[in-house]
Amino acid sequence: MLEKDSSIREHLNVSPKRNQQTLESQAKARIQAEEDLRLQSEIMKNVSDGVYLAGADDGIIKFANPKFEQMFGYDPGGMIGKQVSIVNAPTEKTPDETRDQIASILMKTGEWHGEVTNIKKDGTHFRCFASVSLLEHPTLGRIFVSVHTDITELKKARDELEQRVRDRTASLTEAAERLNREIRERKLVEEERASLAKFPSENPNPVLRVSKGGKILYTNEAGKLLLAKWKSRLGETAPAKWRTSIVEAFNAGKTREADEHVGDKIFSLCLTPVKEAEYVNIYARNVSELRKAESEAQKHRDRLLHISRLSTVGAMASGLAHELNQPLCAILTHAHVCLRTSEHGIKDLAKLRENLETITLQSKLAGEIVNRIKDFVQKREPHRTTIDINDIICETVNFLNLRHEHTNVDIDLRLDFQIPHILADPIQIEQVLLNIVNNAIESMQQVDTRKHRLTLRTSFSPDTSVEVAVADTGIGISEVADKLFEPFFTTKGDGLGIGLSISRSIIEAHGGIISAQANQDYGCTFTLTLPIEDDVTVRQKRK
């Protein structure tokens, strides 16, 4: 590119020294000058930037090169003589204001350059880079020379580049953001992991890890209690009993639970095997309160059973009194006889001895009755044993002194002597039968108009169950069949209504069923079914 400023300025400066040259040199100089001029003219014609000259004072365009005219869309010579401000596009400032602003800087500094928004003849705006210099021309006076470079394309390219840069920056920023986010997240995860890793140590309950063979690999703070109880340390094995459970749990691949007492607390230890990692985690929970509540509930149930037995005995009190009175009366009478007959010496020794034997026997009977009552009412742990249900039936009949006590009731026993033994608590089953038979007797006592019969029948389905049916000829149960077994339901004025509901609890606890049905003719039948357990080792059949 030509150095616009210097060559043209030089060319236009008429130096006095040249005047002093020889004609030859003048002629040479003139030729040279013409050459130069032609060259410069050529240059001026062909330079790729727009160049113009304008008067500094009046602002009139004195010269414009073809490129300038082309750039602005004017015909050749079309800009000469016009105000320089025509090149300025109106922006926030008017063209004149722009001109004046540039001019003032020019006056001060002699040059100005910068981006301007120019306007073509047809009104199109375009951006140029303008370089303006002020100079003194011998003829034209103060003028300024302005070179305009159309930077529209450049600008476009620059804008594009800037956009690309912005985009790139944006995407890089985004990527950086993402990365930062990831880093933050990972950090959080790490923190969480670290926090979780601290979790068992923060657990107030014992948490341990043992190998599949029972070696203690880890314990949290709370677990040290357990280790103290076990008298084991990290790296040592758990006590034999627990080792067995651990090994079993691991081999089975299933969680197991068992209790351990530590001081006055009870912990439920949950052995959780992790097969892939070959260890077993032990999570302990303090179940002291739970076990206490369970134990209280069991005690309460036992107390209730006990109260029910007491109330059963209470209900049978008059019958029991009579039962005891018989042997007592026999004893007393015979004792009196002995005393009287021996008042004046013993005449008939054989008879005396006979009477004394009677006394002894009757005393024993009385004692048995008392014992039976005592056994029945004492507080006891449920105790299951193999029993023959027929024995219980007979016991019940005896207990109630059914044959003597209720003389208007025909007692019909139909017992299957082949019946197999079952596993049950004899006192509890007797309690149920007493309850049912008592109810039967009372329901029959409410009907005067017919002869009564109480039928007790036993039967069995081989290898399945044993059945007891108690049928009466009393007032029946048609209206209340559903509610019979509900707690506190009673049709008796003085009844507590707990007998049948407790009976049902007892039978169901034995895995059996109790039900009641109205008979076709009179009264109703209660049916008890009790299962024959597979693991009952004794199965005797009476001959």
């Binding site: 009478t333 006889v337 009477n355 003389t407």
Partner: protein
């Protein structure tokens, strides 16, 4: 027959041990006892007219003590009854006494109490029998009177004077006196007071 006059205590209790004990107890005081295991057994064996009393258990299978009492009343057998029972029950006790039982004793009982009541029962029975015999004697004697003698007897026992009787019957005083003498002789009394006592005692006084 001897058994008719010798009073027997009939013991009816379905508990044989108690029955035999009571029987022996009764024998220790020199009385005669007989045991039955049921009311029906007693009914089957008792000959009406036999002297004695009953010791009866209230609650027995089949016919109860109270049912037996009613049955006996139906058949006009008035043996006095002492009830014994293993079931103390005020209501049945009161019922039994109201129906004429001698006593209602609960088991186990004091031997002396039972024996005393049995004694009382036998006395009442003896008294009843005696009263019946006495009555019969008087009835027989009255039967031996003529109807005129009978009507005079009642008037005399009523306190009427001979004169008034003569006037009322329209017969002579002598006739009245004669008939009166016959009445005294046939009734086997020797005074008016005795006659009145005889008639009153046997409930024949009109």
């Amino acid at each position: 027959m001897m058994s008719e006059h010798e009073p027997t205590v009939f013991v009816v209790d379905d508990d044989k041990v108690i029955g035999s004990g009571v029987a022996q107890l009764i024998e220790t005081v020199g009385l005669k006892a007989k045991c039955f295991a049921s009311a029906q057994e007693f009914m089957d064996h008792y000959v009406p007219g036999q002297a004695g009393c009953l010791v009866l258990d209230v609650r027995m299978p089949g016919m109860s003590g109270l049912m037996l009492r009613d049955k006996l009343a139906e058949e006009n057998i008035n043996l006095p009854i002492v009830f014994i029972t293993g079931h103390g029950n005020v209501k049945s006790g009161v019922d039994a006494i109201k129906k004429g039982a001698i006593d209602y004793i609960e088991k186990p009982f004091d031997d002396q109490v039972l024996l005393d009541q049995i004694q009382r029962a036998l006395e009442i029975d003896a008294q009843d029998r005696q009263e019946q015999i006495d009555r019969q004697v008087v009835i027989d004697r009255i039967k031996s009177l003529t109807s005129r003698e009978e009507s005079i007897m009642y008037m005399v026992a009523d306190g009427k004077l001979n004169k008034a009787i003569a006037y009322k019957l329209g017969v002579s005083l002598k006739t009245v006196e004669a008939r009166r003498a016959n009445v005294m002789k046939k009734m086997q009394v020797d005074s008016l007071a005795a006659l009145i006592r005889l008639l009153a005692h046997t409930g024949m006084l009109q």
